[in-house]
């Protein structure tokens, strides 16, 4: 589904990612683990199409389509979702309005009809209760005054309603207490299926105890130094990043 080959990615002419190869087939959950400053967030924003990040060499494709020619919103409509480490606040814009606007923008981009409001509200209500979100969050401005955990839950809500082909979750566990972590993990597990892929970007093994990945990659200084199964995450937890440097 996502294919990155020999990618060198720079920010303001400084290479941050130095020859990355990553292939995530449909239906698989991959975890990318690395220390602070390894370039994890650079990678997630780059995949989403953030204009600060430049592909100097190599290729990136999504379902066979060259992503480097696509704008951010086009990538989103193609089925790419990024769960933010720090979800952004949008004052004055109600959560439900934002979600509906986003869904319809994607549908329009794909040449589909707009979503029926009643059907949307019904689904929204259902997903919010699955995520144990207070119904009042529906009408509150996007992420404004939300706690860290509420923001992360709101990201999973958006994921559930936008139904992407692939979700990249950037440090979705950071700032969460154990209860909130479980809700987020359950949300992700519920959304796992044969077609949908995930890339979990995380610093700690903690999240992976709740969402079992198919593949774990150790990422340091802009390259993947080792890939393996879940046991790799356990080894990392025991030995630290130094063992892989």
């Amino acid at each position: 589904m996502l294919e990155i080959k020999d990618a060198v990615i720079s920010v303001e002419d400084t290479p941050i990612i130095k020859g990355l190869n990553l292939s995530i087939p449909a239906g698989e959950v991959h975890a990318l683990m690395g220390p602070n400053g390894a370039g994890k967030s650079t990678l997630s924003k780059f995949i989403a199409g953030h204009e600060d990040y430049t592909l100097e060499s190599g290729t990136i494709s999504f379902n066979g389509e060259d992503l480097s020619d696509m704008d951010i919103h086009e990538r989103a409509a193609a089925g790419l979702f990024l769960g933010f480490q720090y979800p952004v606040e949008i004052p004055g814009v109600a959560n439900h309005y934002f979600l509906k606007t986003a869904i319809n923008a994607q549908r329009k981009e794909r040449g589909e009809e707009e979503l029926d409001t009643a059907a949307f509200l019904k689904e929204l209500k259902k997903e919010m209760s699955e995520l144990k979100m207070d119904p009042q969050f529906k009408s509150r401005p996007v992420n404004v005054g939300f706690s860290g955990g509420e923001k992360k839950r709101n990201e999973i809500l958006q994921l559930a309603l936008l139904k992407p082909k692939m979700a990249i979750l950037d440090e979705s566990d950071s700032g969460l207490d154990i209860d909130a972590l479980q809700v987020v993990a359950e949300g992700v597990n519920r959304l796992r299926n044969q077609e949908r892929s995930f890339l979990l970007i995380t610093h700690y093994q903690r999240l992976l105890n709740h969402i079992k990945p198919d593949v774990v990659h150790i990422f340091a200084d802009g390259v993947i130094v080792k890939s393996g199964g879940f046991e790799l995450a356990q080894q990392l937890e025991a030995e630290g990043y130094k063992a892989f440097a």
């Binding site: 924003k45 989403a48 199409g49 953030h50 704008d71 951010i72 919103h73 989103a76 409509a77 979702f81 990024l82 933010f84 720090y86 979800p87 952004v88 606040e89 949008i90 004052p91 004055g92 814009v93 934002f98 606007t101 986003a102 869904i103 923008a105 994607q106 981009e109 401005p141 958006q158 936008l162």
Partner: protein, 492 residues
């Protein structure tokens, strides 16, 4: 707003992006080709006589004008506002322009020049009642005269008077003499004095005691003629227990010369009366280099004369090259309420010095000020607001929220609050914030599927929401669309 990272707008890339973004066209910039009768340019007592004569005014009105003119001659143009423009030559301006076809007053719409009707249709203001907006009566003012007022019969049945002020001077002299200048005297300021001397038309609304006006009243102002000032005068009187909602819209053609618009609006609310005054101001703002555009120097003030009266100003200001405007409320009656909700946009090279004054005289008077300023491109905007609590205003309360939003790095926002409390029991709150539409917000929206331009519109509309929801429905939609057009291309 919190958690907003400042945007580094100084880099060249973003400067280019911003240039690309703010390239919106002014859609009301067309000129109506119509034969116009002008007064000779310049201002002297002869011109005042000329205007008064054109309007067949009674002697007392002429005297009022002459008194104002003589006073105006002693005044100097105010320079305290945070705006800059070359000196205005008041002797080069033409103070009266009217379509020739209005010479012999048309008695019905069928007799109105089709060119004029077409102009308003093009502006989305159909004047034929069958095509008109449901529930909105319109007075259309073209340059110096009112060309049509719709739904007059319906309103008359309810006892509501809605007519051009020039006509009201003839037909209801007692009401005009009682109220004209009672809220904004000719001595108030330079532009108010000028207006009192040369105003040519505008609207007069009178809502009798205990009457709820059955429809929204609206005046639509259009400046068409070249080198002409528009000096309209609006007077709204709501008697005890009356209610009216009034809408004002404005546009002008694109011209390279600056044009002066110096209006005066007076509102009188008696005991338990309520006046809701909404403005969507879209005068031609000039081009990207600051050439042309309207100078909008306006005095708007309402008085809550009786107990529990309420006056609320809502304005969406996207036009004009320069704006100098402070819609105010004098809270004289006990427990009276004043409100000011404003969205002002300065883009291109627009400058605005705008805000409000809330003058608390009565006990337990309450005022709310919500001001949202948006600056883009080279726009410069200042909020200037005064809250004055007089010694007798026991228990007076004010809440002010004043937010500025910057798009790009070449624009500016400034805040000048004046708070003067002379009563210990008063409570005054002032909140202010300045933020930038930040790249992370736009990126977030884009990642969810919105195009960049739609993302900016969403963020800006969210910023203005508290004000938009005060507008009547049709105007709220129009205001939102207008805002989107005004900011088109402000971020690339």
């Amino acid at each position: 707003m919190t958690n907003l990272n400042p945007v580094d707008a100084t880099n060249d890339q973003q400067a280019d992006d911003i240039d690309n973004y703010v390239s919106a066209d002014y859609e009301h910039g067309f000129v109506t080709n119509i034969e116009t009768e002008y007064a000779p340019p310049g201002l002297n007592e002869d011109i005042v006589h000329f205007i008064s004569n054109k309007k067949n005014e009674p002697e007392w009105m002429l005297e009022y004008r002459l008194k104002a003119f003589r006073y105006w001659q002693t005044l100097k143009e105010p320079t305290w506002a945070h705006v800059s423009y070359p000196p205005i030559d008041y002797q080069a301006i033409c103070y009266y322009a009217a379509p020739k076809s209005m010479e012999d007053k048309p008695k019905s719409l069928d007799e109105v020049d089709p060119e004029l009707l077409k102009t308003y249709e093009k502006l989305g203001i159909p004047l034929h009642e069958r095509a008109a907006l449901a529930g909105v009566a319109v007075d259309a003012v073209f340059d110096s005269v009112s060309v049509a007022t719709t739904f007059r019969d319906t309103l008359e049945k309810a006892g509501v008077i809605f007519m051009p002020i020039s006509e009201a001077i003839q037909k209801h002299p007692e009401l005009i003499q009682k109220h004209l200048g009672s809220v904004v005297p000719h001595t108030d300021n330079f532009y108010a004095a000028l207006n009192a001397a040369v105003f040519s038309d505008g609207s007069f609304c009178y809502i009798p005691k205990g009457t709820r006006c059955p429809m929204e009243l609206s005046t639509y102002f259009r400046i068409n003629a070249l080198n002409t000032g528009q000096f309209e005068r609006t007077l709204i009187v709501a008697e005890e227990g009356a209610y009216v909602s009034y809408l004002e819209g404005c546009t002008a053609p694109m011209r390279d010369e600056n044009q002066l618009h110096a209006a005066v609006v007076e509102l009188v609310a008696e005991q338990d009366a309520e006046i809701k005054y909404s403005t969507v101001q879209n005068w031609y703002p000039g081009d990207d280099n600051g050439k042309g555009g309207i100078y909008n120097f306006v005095t708007k003030r309402g008085i809550c004369r009786g107990a529990r009266a309420k006056i609320s100003w809502t304005q969406v200001e996207t036009g004009s090259a320069i704006t100098w405007k402070y819609p105010s409320v004098v809270l004289q009656g006990d427990n009276s309420v004043g409100e000011f909700y404003s969205v002002a946009v300065t883009s291109k090279k627009q400058q605005a010095d705008t805000g409000t004054k809330m003058i608390h005289l009565g006990k337990n008077t309450k005022s709310t000020i919500i001001s949202k300023g948006i600056s883009a491109k080279h726009g410069q905007q200042s909020y200037r607001g005064q809250v004055l609590i007089q010694p007798k205003a026991d228990g007076a309360r004010n809440f002010t929220q004043c937010d500025s939003l910057l798009i790009g790095g070449d624009c500016g926002a400034h805040t000048f609050p004046y708070i003067d409390v002379k009563n210990q029991s008063a409570r005054v709150e002032h909140e202010a914030s300045t933020s930038k539409v930040n790249e992370e917000q736009i990126f977030y929206c884009q990642q969810r599927g919105l195009k960049e331009e739609d993302a900016v519109n969403l963020i800006v509309n969210g910023f203005c929401k508290d004000v938009f929801r005060q507008l009547p429905m049709e105007f709220a939609v129009e205001a939102q669309a207008l805002l989107n057009v005004s900011l088109e291309g402000a971020v690339g």
